[in-house]
């Protein structure tokens, strides 16, 4: 279980998060949504031990602020919103960085399997920097998946923290990646994902936290949180849930045949 209590973050002298409390359960996908600058990435960075914070954050009972980096690395993996690769590694070499140190020198087909999982099976030997934006995002996801390959480990459930995992993906790959997160949760792991796409959130999230100006505006199932009033206030524009437009083509992923 991930427990966040009374969490406050100040960056460059400005209070970015105000007293956030929430829990996320293994076996579930917990989505963090909210407008730009509302503090989603900052909240995720606090949860993963990257940003200093007041309050408490515990993952599987482990105090995130005190835990050793290697300890955290064995129970959770993080997909950042953006990653800049410094040297011309191949795709496989980048994915292999996710291998835990005990496995690094072993001959293993896990990197290839992780790549196949994100639809990049034949990309292993290509230069990472030559990949398209969406392909790079999926390759990083393969690396992250490799780090927590078994959703449940000896120290309890493992966790995926994903910051906008589908931001540069087409609709087919969005569904593919959300499906991977779904299966990870179904197998007993925990998933915390920052999302912008409310349709995908409604479709895949078990729980969602809505941030607004650094505060928790709403928390609950998509049914509870996704109401016209709540979303309109948070996003500052009129939002209508479950309303079909009068004309024009439109599509939502929910309506796609499985």
């Amino acid at each position: 279980m991930l427990e966040i209590g009374d969490l406050c973050v100040a960056l460059a002298g400005r209070q970015v998060l105000h007293s956030i409390s929430l829990t996320a359960q293994q076996g579930q996908i917990t989505a963090i949504v909210g407008p730009n600058g509302s503090g989603k990435t900052t909240l995720l960075r606090a949860m993963t031990g990257d940003a200093p914070f007041h309050g408490h954050a515990r993952l599987n009972g482990l105090d995130v602020a005190q835990a050793k980096l290697w300890q955290l690395a064995t129970i959770r993996a993080v997909l950042a919103q953006a990653t800049q690769l410094a040297f011309p590694f191949t795709v496989t070499e980048v994915v292999r960085l996710g291998l835990q140190s005990s496995e690094v020198d072993a001959q293993t087909d896990l990197p290839a399997r992780a790549l196949a999982m994100v639809g990049l099976a034949s990309y292993g030997n290509r230069a990472f920097q030559d990949l398209s934006g969406g392909e790079q995002q999926r390759a990083h996801l393969a690396r992250v998946l490799l780090q927590v390959w078994q959703p449940v480990g000896p120290n309890g459930p493992r966790w995926l923290f994903l910051d906008e995992p589908v931001s540069s993906l087409d609709i087919g790959h969005q569904l593919m990646v959300m499906g991977i997160a779904r299966r990870f949760a179904d197998a007993g792991g925990g998933v915390v994902a920052v999302m912008h796409d409310l349709n995908l959130t409604a479709m895949f999230a078990d729980q969602m936290a809505l941030l607004h100006n650094g505060r928790l505006a709403a928390m609950g199932s998509p049914h509870q949180v996704m109401t016209d009033g709540t979303l309109s206030t948070a996003y500052g524009c009129p939002v209508r849930v479950n309303a079909a437009p009068d004309h024009g083509p439109w599509l939502v992923p929910q309506a796609m045949p499985a």
């Binding site: 960075r45 993963t48 031990g49 990257d50 980096l69 290697w70 955290l72 690395a73 064995t74 993996a77 993080v78 950042a80 990653t83 800049q84 690769l85 410094a86 040297f87 011309p88 590694f89 191949t90 496989t92 070499e93 980048v94 292999r96 960085l97 996710g98 835990q100 140190s101 690094v104 001959q107 087909d109 990197p111 290839a112 399997r113 790549l115 196949a116 099976a121 034949s122 292993g124 030997n125 920097q129 780090q147």
Partner: protein, 348 residues
């Protein structure tokens, strides 16, 4: 099928890196023999094969072997310090000689030469010949830390800032060095000019012994940093997510850069571009994986510097070119070439 191909390719890559290691070891051996067999006295390898005359033994043991050993040691140290620094700054243009670390080490060395006499006699006797290399290490260390502080913000390094801050640091260290040179007496001045040119001409077993304690640990232990430096290529936060203690990694890497660059500056002066050319060539050949890059850089750096030294000694024989000129003639265009390539991809 796909999975099978992937696995074999990874094997191939480490096999290729291992082959390159073997090839480079061979190249170093050949370069070493060539180096022993060439010199101003005209004594060749064949002259030495049929037993050594007293004069030949003297040339071999007191001139050519120390020169070969120092060339190999300095070349390996420069190449590894370049590779380490590039991993730390996440940029292939970082080189101790270019971004002021060499100048900082030089300042340390000059300080030790000029002011070393002021040390309490017992302390001076205790440190002895280690004083200059150690002072160069401290100077290089201070410069590396200052550079990293100046050029990095929140875990990411700005290359433009790195290069410009390096120029400023180098100029500052050079200016202070200039003041010290004015203060030097005649004997010190001879030491200084001898040293400052970037040359292996002053090679001796004593200098080698003085620099060994700084260079050998870096060469031997740098592969332990490989996994961390590979992860650092993803960025500092991402490396931490994988479980790398980036603060410790950076501290140790900075120490390694300063020790190897400082010690080589202390015994051979400023020899440029080995640290940039060698890792770049190896990345082209076997990729940027530091597990292969670091050991192979030591071998290739040693071979190249021994070769450059043969050129320096024979091109205008009996006169001798400072080796720094030879490495700059080859290295500076390579540096510009990397710069142009990176300008092409916009990323600098």
């Amino acid at each position: 099928m796909v999975m099978l191909a992937e696995t074999t390719d990874i094997q191939d890559r480490s096999i290729r890196a291992a082959r390159v290691t073997q090839g480079l070891a061979l190249a170093l051996a050949v370069a070493g023999l060539a180096s022993i067999g060439s010199g101003a006295t005209g004594v060749s390898l064949f002259d030495m094969l049929d037993g050594l005359s007293a004069r030949e033994a003297l040339i071999l043991w007191d001139i050519r072997l120390p020169r070969l050993a120092m060339g190999a040691l300095v070349g390996a140290a420069l190449a590894v310090s370049g590779a380490l620094m590039q991993g730390l700054f996440r940029n292939p243009l970082a080189d101790p000689g270019i971004v002021g670390v060499g100048a900082g080490a030089g300042l340390g060395a000059v300080l030790a030469i000029v002011l070393g006499g002021l040390l309490p006699a017992t302390l001076g006797a205790w440190i002895g010949p280690q004083l200059v290399p150690f002072a160069a290490f401290l100077g290089g260390w201070a410069a590396t830390i200052a550079l990293y502080r100046l050029a990095s913000r929140g875990g990411s390094v700005s290359v433009a800032t790195m290069l410009l801050a390096g120029i400023a640091l180098g100029a500052l260290a050079g200016a202070v060095t200039g003041v010290l040179v004015y203060m030097a007496d005649d004997r010190q001045l001879r030491d200084l000019t001898f040293w400052g040119m970037g040359s292996l001409a002053g090679a001796s077993w004593a200098k080698i012994a003085a620099s060994l304690p700084l260079i050998v640990p870096v060469l031997a232990l740098s592969p332990l940093l490989a996994r961390g430096l590979n992860a650092l290529a993803l960025g500092e936060a991402q490396a931490r997510h994988i479980g790398i203690d980036t603060e410790r990694l950076k501290r140790i890497t900075i120490l390694g850069v300063a020790a190897s660059a400082g010690a080589s500056v202390a015994i051979a002066g400023g020899i440029g571009f080995i640290g940039i050319v060698v890792p770049h060539l190896l990345r082209l050949a076997t990729g940027p994986d530091h597990r292969f890059l670091l050991p192979n850089a030591a071998l290739l750096g040693a071979s190249l510097l021994v070769l450059a030294d043969i050129f320096a000694r024979t091109l205008l024989a009996p006169a001798e070119l400072p080796i720094g000129i030879v490495t700059a003639l080859v290295g500076a265009p390579v540096f510009l070439w990397i710069l142009l390539q990176r300008r092409g991809i916009g990323g600098l």
